[in-house]
Amino acid sequence: MKSATLEFDALAAAVGALPETALSASRQSALEQLRRRGMPGVREEDWKYTDVSTLVDITNTWLASGARVAAAAAAEPAAGIDADWFTIVNGQFDEAQLQTLPEGVTVERLSSNVSALPSLGRLGELNTALLHDGLKISVDKGVVLERPIGLLLFDQADDGASVSQVRVDIELAPSSSAAFIEHQVSGGDSDLYANVAIRLALGDNASADYVRIQDRGPQHSQTGYHGIELGCDARLRQASFDLGGKLVRDDLVVNIAHPGAEAEFGGLYLVGDGQHVDNHTRVDHRVGPAVSRQEYRGILAGKARGVWNGKAIVHEGADGTDAEQSNHNLLLSQSAEINAKPELEIYADDVKCSHGTTVGQLDENALYYLRTRGLDIDEARQALTRAFAHAIVGRSPIEQLEEFLLGEIDRRLRDLLREDVA
């Protein structure tokens, strides 16, 4: 199979047509980098199971049709979630919403804040090259935010292919604490490729709770990169929920270069027919003591395809590292597939590391037991899948999201269970 290549001339024209800002130079150098490296291909170890050629096709189609950005559609944050929302629609955002801020928080356009923008991740150059503008969110020293900051990433894909880039850089000054909700959604029936890059840097003793909820439409694909830096004694608690999307890839990369840091993260992916969801994580333990714990769970139905790859690297001298990773998968059908791979590389002596991966089906004994109590087979299957999924909701750091998440998960599970019977 020949991997698709980007139409660079069209891409260069699209980059050149973007409004001239302080980001222009970064765009051009990202474009040059991208021309050299190309898009990730399945021969690269980290992209072995996730073939982005359909995303390249969407991008080329979009470029060929003039690289239009759809008129901003109205996007409403999910009801019942209490947060200060920033809405980014088709990669663009409205200046006005930067005014209404909680105290101790600054939000700026990246174009007004940075001159050179380092790209994030393997698709970072594409992101930088085509970026209209990004957000920079800073939380001041010692500030403890009561209410989460919401990032509503919405795309409307109506006529023909759409492509969007989102970039958000978040910095938490020392001893500050904040929660973030990233809600990735989209509307419309056309092809969409959304490429999201987020940088989250925690100062010494800062703490961040972060929940990512991805519920894109069945025609909509997304790649995401979350690059996280932890200061001394900084603490990250993160959970992600992949409920929708067509081809979805997320990279969560945690860099621990200061002692005392703690990172707890994980996620749930519910994957049905026609979907491909890939969660890649990487933690670099460069110093100790520090803790990283991750637990991912997936439920796959129909011809779903899932990938989980958890890499933890304990670098030389990172003594006192405690790294734990686990991944559990429930396959509801014979044709669902999961590639689950824990990778521990340990170059230090005094470390505590563990990993566990399981792939299984619904427990027949448990199903039968529930049925002898009067639950019909659908209710019994729903009860077991729900229990499996809810374990991740229980780990999710932002408590007020619980009801919303449980509702969304139940809805999605009903679809998956129906799919499997069909």
Partner: protein, 250 residues
């Protein structure tokens, strides 16, 4: 209430029940005893509807319904309850949620309204008090990490909540401390009524001290080889199973 006629059942190709007949009338308590591997649990599972067991001949009738035609959940809703010899642990499925779903499934089948949360909790706590169970067990996963005795008590709690017409308790008395045994007996005796029937599978006489059976049967090699009144249980305790086997063969 329950008529089992000359039933043959096999699992994984081997025949376990070989022409077993049993008649349990409403209002009665029957005890089934017999050596390990004789087919007692198989009988219980066949009545509850386990699909791994293939019934190759015979019939099972319950309240004039051909039971073998029904799915396990339909049998449950018709009022059959099986207390498992090995209750299944279901991590993450809340015990209270299961109890309530079970109760509502049955009520719905009976054309009754769902029980509301308040009434449910009141009822559950009442039954738990009777069984000497801490209400904390409501919020745990079904049998998740329960001790052997706690699992058995939890089975009885489900029975007490569901008030089945036919309860089959498969060695619910095994592995119980003396207080738990009394609690289980109390649960069974409370259920006992002219329109209900109870089948106790047991290895021990001691449960029968608390719950007096109308009939005692001995199962051996997939058949009932002897039936009698409660004195049969005492006699078995005294003489062991070889005695019945010999009597049956000779």
């Amino acid at each position: 209430m329950l008529q089992i006629k000359d039933i043959h059942a096999s699992i994984g190709g081997s025949e376990i029940l070989r022409g077993l007949s049993l008649d349990v009338a409403a209002g009665e308590v029957h005890a089934i005893m017999g050596p390990n591997g004789s087919g007692k649990s198989t009988l219980a599972q066949v009545v509850a509807g386990h699909s791994d067991y293939e019934v190759t001949a015979g019939s099972v009738t319950y309240k004039d319904i051909d039971l073998l035609e029904l799915e396990p959940e339909e049998r449950a809703r018709e009022g059959i309850f099986l207390g498992f010899q090995y209750p299944v642990e279901i991590p993450g499925v809340n015990n209270a949620v299961l109890l309530r779903s079970a109760l509502n499934a049955k009520r719905k089948h009976q054309g009754l309204e769902e029980i509301d949360a308040f009434e449910f909790l009141k009822l559950a706590k009442e039954k738990m008090a009777m069984l000497g169970m801490d209400p904390k067990f409501l919020n745990r996963g079904v049998n998740e990490g329960f001790s052997g005795g706690e699992k058995k008590r939890n089975e009885i709690l489900q029975m007490a909540m569901l008030e089945p017409s036919l309860a089959i308790l498969d060695e619910t008395d095994s592995g119980l401390d003396i207080d738990a045994l009394r609690a289980v007996a109390e649960g069974v005796n409370t259920l006992r009524s002219p329109d209900r029937a109870i089948v106790l599978v047991t290895h021990y006489q001691r449960l029968l001290d608390y719950v007096e059976p109308d009939q005692v049967h001995v199962l051996s090699e997939g058949r009932i080889v002897r039936s009698g009144d409660k004195s049969l249980a005492l006699e078995l305790e005294d003489k062991g199973y070889d005695w019945v086997r010999e009597a049956a063969n000779g």
